[in-house]
Point group: C2
Chain length 216, copies 2
């Protein structure tokens, strides 16, 4: 979409670029406010103030509170889905299944923590938004879930992961372990990458397992 | 508290028992409604209707919406904390650290799934309730977190778990994996105990690890 727009240069394209930049700033501000105050509690005037607008001007970019909240949630899920898929595609074809899982875990967590407000707002809002929005979001979540389901079933077929656990349970437990981080993470002591590696080490190697360098 | 009440029998005690039973029904109904409709969206008249009361009669048991929501959240956290602590105390003293972690994981998840409405409401409400309630709940969560911190540091000191991961990260990842289940779990295909065992197997043995019966 963005690529198409940039393919032909000109004033119209620049305007589109500007509108898109404004849209992104509004979404970032909206994520912060929705995260802190919830769906019903968030004040559109607070969101507008954060980007130096009047509340009425928000409607130039988003038709309604519903449209704004849905755009925030779309962004959270789509960015995560696309980035994880892209990182997996970038791996050499001979990379093992366990390493592929490790890359997916790390990519997902880095996204969650890089877009902490958006991820955290998305996770919290799912139960506060109108049913119609929730249904659409859950459908998108299922599409992303299918990527993980394939990763896990491929790994099992190849004998790379244990056969005595239910893969749906495992998949949801991994999502829980990663998504929860949007709430407890505070920048400082550890980087997102270090946290991602520790969670991947636990999920793949187990707490009672030997450290990786000892295993190899 | 309940034990003291039941120690002396009589009409007053029976009344107290009845009031307590009503209180428990109200809390269960409140958890269902708060879970579905959120803190601001929940209608006290819906909660009252579920227990065959008028909304005004709720105030005989709970002073305010705040008091009711806080009682639901207290119940969720306290039941979990007490049950996990009790199961650990019931273990023979020579039980290994990894088995202790396994017992704690299983007890926590069973509680989350047995009181699904209460757990799920508690998790969702934490970000919707007034700041004062949230602060008190977070303090209780920290007290429960201390139990897990000790389990993990004891295990590490004894060399029972790997030394190359941050234990706070691991603790929060385990909580995320377990608490998330309040939302995705649907009774039917698997029992809470089976799910708990699979998550414990992943957390302790790792997905890339050998199944338990092969290891032993």
């Amino acid at each position: 979409m963005l690529d198409q727009r940039h393919a032909r240069r000109g004033d119209a394209t620049e305007d589109l670029g500007k509108a898109e930049a404004t849209r992104q700033s509004i979404l970032a501000a909206a994520a912060r406010v929705f995260r802190a105050d919830g769906y019903a509690g968030a004040r559109l005037s607070d969101i507008a103030a954060k980007v130096g607008m009047k509340a009425g001007s928000l409607y130039y970019h988003f038709d309604s509170r519903e449209a704004l909240v849905e755009a925030v949630m779309d962004l959270g899920l789509k960015q995560t889905h696309e980035t994880v898929a892209k990182r997996l595609r970038a791996l050499p074809p001979d990379v093992g299944h366990v390493r592929r899982l490790e890359v997916a875990i790390e990519a997902h967590l880095e996204l969650v923590l890089a877009h902490e407000d958006i991820s955290s707002a998305t996770i919290k809002l799912i139960w506060q938004v109108p049913a119609q929005i929730r249904e659409r979001q859950l459908a998108d979540q299922r599409a992303y879930g299918a990527l993980w389901r394939k990763l896990l079933t491929d790994a099992r077929k190849a004998g790379a992961i244990r056969g005595d656990v239910d893969l749906s349970v495992v998949r949801m437990a991994i999502m829980g372990a990663l998504n929860w981080a949007a709430d407890w993470y505070k920048p400082g002591r550890m980087t997102p990458r270090q946290i991602a590696r520790d969670i991947a080490a636990m999920v793949l190697g187990g707490l009672a397992g030997e450290p990786k360098n000892k295993r190899k």
